[in-house]
């Protein structure tokens, strides 16, 4: 790892002061330190924001559950308020990574983590995301790459939490030095044609303060399917949630952003009830528009299974 200057921010203002001076934000440090060790990320100034109390905690407002960006994945998984209203959110992080990582990794860091694409993570592959001219996954080993989206970069978004947040019509509260804004999860994550060098729409100098989930949420469920049950990213995942009476079906690990399945969501909204047949039809609709790559079409079956199961679980039904 390259040596870096290390600063500690005590409050939000301190974070912005550091950002203005070119510091890179470190929360749990899970992803950033990996990237620095591999010399994929380059910075000579790091500011720790772990001591900023205002970014901690999970609280209830009139309309929302608000989760501070420094809440850990373990805190989110164990929070009774979240478990009661939005179990899908807790389930999306409950088995992520390892217990040690969940105790340290933060909600903000999880949403902003960089892709796990093995070409992106390799110093020896100068891919599109690093300013190169081609996506190595297209002709290479794309087993774990995107099933949806036109490219030109074919990563899958690495955050399971993002998938659940998107289905719950969550929002991300972000703040720059002078301005604070709230952006929907739908707009927070960005496809590569919009943002090649990032996976979200944060502007320079902006940080995530919190995420919010509406309390007007009905049935919701999150399902992921993993090759390995310890410390693995999903082959496919799905979150299904009813928000303000409207069903949303979102798939994870299948596209560069949490993938809102429009036809599937509409099919579910129009179904007027959920049974095994409806779940199967919704699942079929979810994968209908896929554009799999040379080695990953088999994962459509897992995406379909994840949606089917999430639909049934969101309706309080057992998986048959």
């Amino acid at each position: 790892m390259k040596a870096f200057e290390y600063a500690v921010a005590k409050n939000e203002k301190g974070i912005h002061t550091a950002l203005a001076r070119g510091y890179t934000v470190k929360a749990g440090g899970i992803d950033l330190l990996d990237m620095l060790k591999e010399r994929i990320a380059k910075t000579d100034k790091v500011v720790s924001i772990l001591g900023v109390e205002s970014l901690r905690g999970i609280r209830e407002t009139d309309d929302h559950i608000e989760i501070g960006s420094l809440a850990t994945l373990a805190e989110l998984a164990d929070d009774p308020l979240v478990a009661g209203l939005a179990p899908s959110l807790a389930d999306s992080v409950r088995h992520a990574a390892t217990p040690q990582i969940r105790a340290v990794a933060t909600v903000g860091g999880n949403l902003c983590q960089r892709p796990r694409c093995w070409y992106f993570r390799s110093r020896d592959h100068h891919c599109l995301k690093k300013g190169g001219s081609s996506c190595f996954a297209v002709e290479g080993d794309n087993t774990y790459h995107a099933l949806f989206g036109p490219g030109p970069c074919h990563i899958v978004h690495p955050s399971n939490l993002a998938t659940a947040l998107r289905a719950l019509e969550g929002e991300v509260v972000v703040a720059g030095e002078t301005e604070k804004r709230t952006v929907s999860a739908a707009d927070f994550f960005a496809m590569p044609d919009r943002r090649m060098y990032a996976e979200n729409t944060l502007e320079d100098g902006e940080i995530v303060l919190a995420v919010r989930v509406p309390k007007a949420v009905g049935g919701n469920a999150y399902v992921d399917l993993k090759e390995k049950q310890s410390f693995d990213w999903p082959l496919a995942s799905a979150a299904v949630a009813q928000v303000g009476g409207r069903w949303n079906v979102v798939m994870g690990a299948v596209a560069p952003v949490p993938w809102f399945a429009k036809e599937a969501s509409e099919a579910l909204r129009e179904a007027g009830g959920i049974d095994a047949g409806v779940a199967a039809r919704v699942a079929d609709a979810a994968i209908a528009g896929a554009e799999p790559m040379s080695r990953n079409a088999w994962r459509l079956k897992l995406a379909r299974a994840a949606v089917r199961r999430a639909v049934l679980l969101a309706a309080g039904k057992e998986i048959d």
Binding site: R39, R116, E139, G140, D141, F231, K301
Partner: protein
């Protein structure tokens, strides 16, 4: 020499070094920080093949703290990880900065990264051999024919390869993590000193699995740089290097055609084994299938052919039962398919065909413990989640190796035993301690077993599962010799003949006299008595370490995801010394076999030839949640002699048993490792039975 059951001392005490290890007090090579130490790192080519296009060595040399940068622009790299130079620096950060400053650019040329592109079926047989195969298959009541594939697996030692060398001009101290303490004396060559002037400390080794013999490129660099700069030098591989160039198990493509009679007896056929190996040979391939000594089965009349496919990948190294898990996965799968065709239960099929009577008995034990009677007929289940049971067996030859040992009995009553073997995590410290404590009838707290230094009497390297078998009797002999010397002192004190003095359980007796251990020790005039013992090589007729393993799995037919629920592992263990360490070795072998069966895979990019997963996120190792209940069963019989090999047999049949259980569950066979959801779904598709 024959070792009798009188070294038997089965106990369930924890490892003698358990506290040292959990408390971080066990110092591995990477924990050594001698004063003024410098660091070395090998520079490596990242792609399948090619050359260095450009490098700015001067910029790298200009990085503060850098002592030396060498980049070989003329080198033609032949695999990812190929050494193209090195950096030496005062600290590790400077090495990274120098590597970045060097701005290495490469010309990649085309590389062989996909074995199947080079495979065009089983090799041709001559007309006579072909006729023999046709004849035997022709008169068979059932024939199975198919091609099995296994992947390349890396050793994935928790502690990466590495060495610290401190050269003193005419001698050197070496801290290593070798499976062979004495092979580290090879350091003498790059250091230009006599082997006897090299002192090796190899006490703690974080796993080896066959990959840690000799000094390696990393040890050679540490030696050269320590000599050059007259300072201690450390070279530890990082995880990427460890995957790329520190050993691997060759992959395989195995064509099998076997026929069996109505009665289930295998009549013969042919086996064609292709080893998928990296640059250069080694690692056993799957050649063991043709070796009659290692026959799992009586295969009747069969033709065996073998060849190799070379990939642009690093040289294989011996890997826990080299060649075996590959061969057994294919063969035990084929036998299961034959049984299925003949309507014979897989356990019965093995009773009919296994050579070993010992294994026949083990089949009964395992079948009962796994609940084999719950096994539904193959393909009969219709639910989404289906349960399957499978069995597979293996054996391991028993070798007797030369091994020396030295025992001290101190005036204080303390005992120390030194054996020049090493503990690669298997429990050798514990074995030596417990054998000595038992032999003397003393509490373990009085005894200290020591291994892993070149100053001790030489013993074998940790290969072939021979260390425990050799170290146990060597320890016994050394301790007996030391006890005989102490007995003489007691006899002299009592004015008796030594043969009239008895000893048992820490008490000397002679006529009506008795003398407790510590008081007897206090009689010696010096500080200690030292005696040595050894075992010799060449004992024949000690049989084999046979085993069978049973697996219970659940397969989700909608996702192809396999969960292993339970493994019962029945192993001929010979004389049991410490039950915890032997059960731990069996469980470890099963875990490594399960990980091989379902997850691990070296993935080479089909275009650049780079390994895309040289880390532990995408090179998938079984984690805690993936590991099922494992039931180790130690099969001990009257007349078993000596401590038997367990490290290697424990990992051989696991993948085959899991593969057979999957086939039983879903009625379709996955003939390729790892048995991923993708391949399980494909097998279900082929059968047309997917949900």
């Amino acid at each position: 020499m024959k070792v009798d059951n009188d070294v038997a001392l089965e106990n369930r005490l924890s490892r003698v070094d358990a506290l040292l290890k959990v408390a971080g007090a066990a110092k591995y090579a990477s924990d050594q920080y001698p004063a003024k130490m410098i660091y070395g790192k090998l520079l490596r080519f990242p792609y399948g093949a090619g050359t260095v296009k450009s490098a700015d060595a001067d910029a790298a040399r200009a990085v503060p703290g850098v002592l030396e940068v060498e980049i070989d622009l003329a080198e033609t790299a032949k695999y990812p990880g190929w050494v193209i130079g090195h950096i030496v620096a005062e600290n590790r950060a400077a090495i990274g900065d120098a590597e970045e400053a060097a701005a290495l650019a490469f010309d990649a040329t085309s590389a062989a990264s996909v074995a199947d592109r080079q495979y065009d079926g089983a090799g041709a047989l001559d007309a006579e051999a072909k006729q023999r195969v046709d004849d035997v298959l022709g008169r068979s009541a059932a024939v199975v024919e198919g091609t099995w594939r296994t992947q390349v697996q890396t050793h994935s030692c928790l502690e990466t390869h590495g060495t610290v060398v401190d050269f003193h001009g005419d001698s050197a101290d070496v801290w290593g993590n070798s499976q062979s303490t004495f092979s580290m004396l090879d350091m003498a060559e790059p250091l230009g000193i006599d082997r006897s002037a090299v002192r090796v400390d190899n006490e703690f080794v974080g796993g080896g699995f066959g990959s840690k013999f000799g000094i390696g490129a990393e040890g050679r660099l540490a030696a050269q740089m320590s000599k050059k700069y007259k300072r201690p030098c450390k070279v530890m591989l990082d995880r990427r290097e460890e995957h790329l160039d520190a050993g691997n198990r060759p992959g395989s493509i195995q064509y099998i055609a076997l026929g069996a009679g109505e009665d289930g007896r295998i009549l013969g056929g042919r086996i064609d084994g292709v080893s998928i190996v990296g640059f250069g040979r080694g690692g056993g391939g799957v050649t063991n299938l043709g070796d009659k000594r290692f026959d799992n089965y009586d295969l009747g009349a069969y033709e065996f052919t073998q060849s190799e496919i070379n990939l642009n990948f690093s040289k294989p190294r011996a890997f826990r039962a080299p060649g075996w898990p590959q061969a057994v996965f294919a063969l035990e799968g084929a036998v299961d398919e034959l049984a299925e065709k003949l309507g014979i239960d897989p356990v019965e099929m093995r009773r009919i065909n296994y050579r070993s009577a010992r294994r026949h008995k083990q089949l009964g034990i395992g079948a009962e413990l796994i609940g084999w009677n719950r096994r539904a007929p193959t393909g009969s289940q219709t639910g989404r989640v289906r349960t399957g049971f499978g069995v597979a067996g293996a054996m391991w030859p028993v070798w007797n190796t030369e091994c020396g040992a030295e025992a001290d009995i101190h005036r204080t009553g303390q005992v120390e035993v030194r054996v020049g073997v090493q503990d690669i995590g298997t429990g050798t410290f514990t074995l030596v301690t417990d054998v000595a404590a038992h032999e003397l009838g003393l509490d373990r707290s009085l005894v200290r077993g020591k291994v892993g230094r070149s100053s001790y009497p030489q013993g074998p390297g940790s290969g072939g599962s021979q260390v425990s078998r050799a170290a146990a009797p060597a320890t016994t002999h050394a301790v007996r010799a030391a006890l005989a010397d102490l007995t003489k002192i007691v006899a002299k004190e009592w004015k008796m003949k030594p043969e009239d003095v008895g000893y048992s359980g820490g008490v000397f007796t002679g006529g009506a006299k008795t003398l407790e251990w510590r008081k007897a020790c206090a009689l010696m005039s010096g500080d200690k008595i030292t005696a040595s013992g050894r075992t010799e090589t060449g004992q024949e007729g000690d049989g084999t370490s046979d085993c069978v393993q049973f697996a219970e799995v659940e397969v989700d037919t909608e996702t192809g995801i396999v969960r292993v629920k339970r493994i019962v592992a029945v192993h001929a263990a010979g004389v049991i010394v410490n039950r915890i360490t032997i059960e731990n070795q069996i469980c470890g072998g099963v875990v490594q076999g399960l990980s091989y069966a379902l997850f691990e895979n070296v993935r080479l990019d089909p275009n650049t030839g780079a390994m895309v997963n040289p880390e532990f996120i995408n090179y998938k190792l079984a984690g805690p949640v993936d590991i099922p209940e494992i039931v180790p069963v130690l099969d001990v019989e009257e007349g078993d002699t000596g401590v038997r090999p367990i490290g290697e047999p424990a990992t051989i049949p696991t993948a085959a048993a899991i593969g057979n259980a999957i086939a039983n569950a879903i009625g379709a066979r996955v003939r390729e490792l790892p048995m991923t959801p993708e391949r399980v779904l494909a097998a279900l598709d082929t059968k047309g039975a997917g949900t």
